[in-house]
Symmetry: C2
Subunit: 305 residues, 2 copies
DNA sequence: CAGGTCCATATGGCAGACCATATCAAAGGG
DNA sequence: CCCTTTGATATGGTCTGCCATATGGACCTG
């Protein structure tokens, strides 16, 4: 006997009122309605369930009593109402971005410096958000954003990205010189880029870290020379390896200073060419959902940590 | 913003259909309705929740997509429907006596022989029933039944009980002679009650175990003598103690044979006086609920184990 | 650019739910 | 034995929800 009973919120409340008052008249009063339709509603309920919930008599003048099934149903009704409220509340929180899953991508360079405060702030301000992390190259992250398999990505200098992605800069890092420890300028407080014009450089090659390679080229051009590239590398460890080996110098974001790599000195560069800066930005689809917007807001408020 | 949303079963099913098909037309078809009212229903739902559940466009020709909130709501909707079905099912089971709590009372004499199979059979046939046991005197059990603090009681010879309680006999035990081991008749296969006419008896005294005392008195009268009572006891251990001490004989239900008491021999009595039998019965209120009726039926089917 | 797909909107009809007033039947108390 | 209490029943009105048909507008596709 499959029952097509509806158990509307209203009906459950009516039954609970009767179950608590054990009296149709008072229950009707507390529901701001008259007694007859309440009787009918309960009868409909009992008919729909095929179960007698209330013991009406034969001694009615003292109200009604709950049958065992009625007592059980009262418990269940309360649970159902609670579940319903909780479900609505949960959906609202998801819609408002206070709860849910966000898939966040980042390029490796950012992991050690920007992820920690971001994750900490998220856990504190948006404890309902579950952040799923994914590290990849800038290009792949952009593809994933467009494909919808990623919600937010942190990259460096994303200016040449696809047009249908929104970009939000949130931090600027200076580019500094990375020199071998034994280099003659390694102990300087600051040097000019032209001081390196005769050095051998190692810069990102191929499609790897394109913005970094481009910035370096442009900055040297601004300084009046073309860097002599004796080596290339397509990831950060390669670049750092060449420098640490004492074979080359490089131009890298200053936050790499925190990397525990022996044999490398990071020396600030004098001058303020726009190409000696690198921008860190959050990228997302223009139709990002509320959780992403919350995260963007959080990032904006905590920017330049 | 407290929401008076109703979330009727129908509405949830409609939303789930759309969420699964991701297509209003097909969803409407699977619901055996036309598309426009379905659109309206979903719009009502979204308006009621104050949340956008579906992403309609702008590129509609490929159906709709779920927003994060919509996906969350689909999960919640399924849970709500399941909870609702489960609640109805549970109430039905309670009403049919397949689930619930039953408070069962018994007098001590019955505990070791009849409770085990009763509880075992209940656990097997009615695993949803929770049986709460309570041991007390026949009189107190009857009071508790009338007061509604007990649902079912097992007693011996409950004939003189209150009129507003229903009685259901389910087993008959013979009364046997309890003799000290060193008694001259202790080794007999069977004896006549008159063989004990000159013995000292110990029988229940006061209001304790009234049926047992009465049966003994009447049986002796049938046998043509009045038992000489040198001692009394108001519980079973007292009676057995006197016998084991070798001071008295007694008349007791044969199921006591299973008690591990050294020093006592139980010897069957010849003859078939109705007073040499003791009836075991289940007592309950006439308006007992379904669970009690199930237990009574179970007892009836397993009677005389 | 024409056709097709898909969802939204508009309109009208119907059934059922909900409600209030009035009345009835049963049981217990003075 | 009458009266109060209490829940069930009867009746009529209103309104909302639900539905179907018809139409419009946005978008993609060939």
């Amino acid at each position: 006997m499959v029952c097509h009973m509806d158990l509307s919120k209203r009906l459950l409340e009516q039954f609970l009122a009767v179950a608590e008052e054990k009296h149709f008249g008072r229950a009707a009063e507390s529901l701001s309605m008259s007694q007859p339709p309440l009787s009918q509603a309960i009868q409909r309920l009992e008919r729909g369930l095929g179960v007698t919930l209330l013991e009406r008599g034969p001694s009615s003048p003292r109200g009604v009593r709950l049958t065992p099934a009625g007592a059980a149903f009262a418990t269940e009704a309360r649970r159902l109402l609670d579940s319903q409220s909780a479900a609505i509340e949960r959906v609202r929180r998801v819609a408002h971005g206070l709860e849910g899953d966000v898939r966040v991508g980042y390029v490796s360079i950012l992991s050690h410096r920007h992820l920690p405060w971001l994750l900490r702030a998220t856990a504190e301000e948006l404890p309902g958000l579950r952040v799923h992390l994914h590290q990849d190259s800038t290009a792949t992250l952009a593809e994933m954003l467009s494909a919808g398999t990623l919600d937010l990505a942190f990259v460096r200098d994303p200016s040449p990205l696809s047009d249908d992605l929104a970009v939000r800069d949130f931090a600027v890092e200076r580019i500094v010189a990375a020199l071998p420890h034994e280099h003659r300028l390694a102990g300087s407080d600051a040097i000019a880029l032209t001081d390196l014009r005769d050095e051998d450089f190692v810069l990102p090659s191929g499609d790897a870290l394109p913005s970094l390679a481009q910035q370096a080229q442009l900055a040297c051009r601004d300084a009046g020379f073309t860097p002599r590239c004796r080596a290339g590398a397509d990831d950060l460890t390669g670049l750092l390896g060449y420098v640490a080996a004492g074979l080359c110098v490089s131009l890298l974001p200053e936050d790499l200073r925190d990397f525990p790599i022996p044999g490398i000195a990071f020396v600030p560069l004098r001058g303020s060419s726009p190409h000696l800066e690198t921008t860190i930005a959050a990228v997302h689809r223009p139709d990002a959902d509320a959780a992403v917007l919350r995260l963007l807001d959080l990032i904006h408020r905590h920017a330049r940590p």
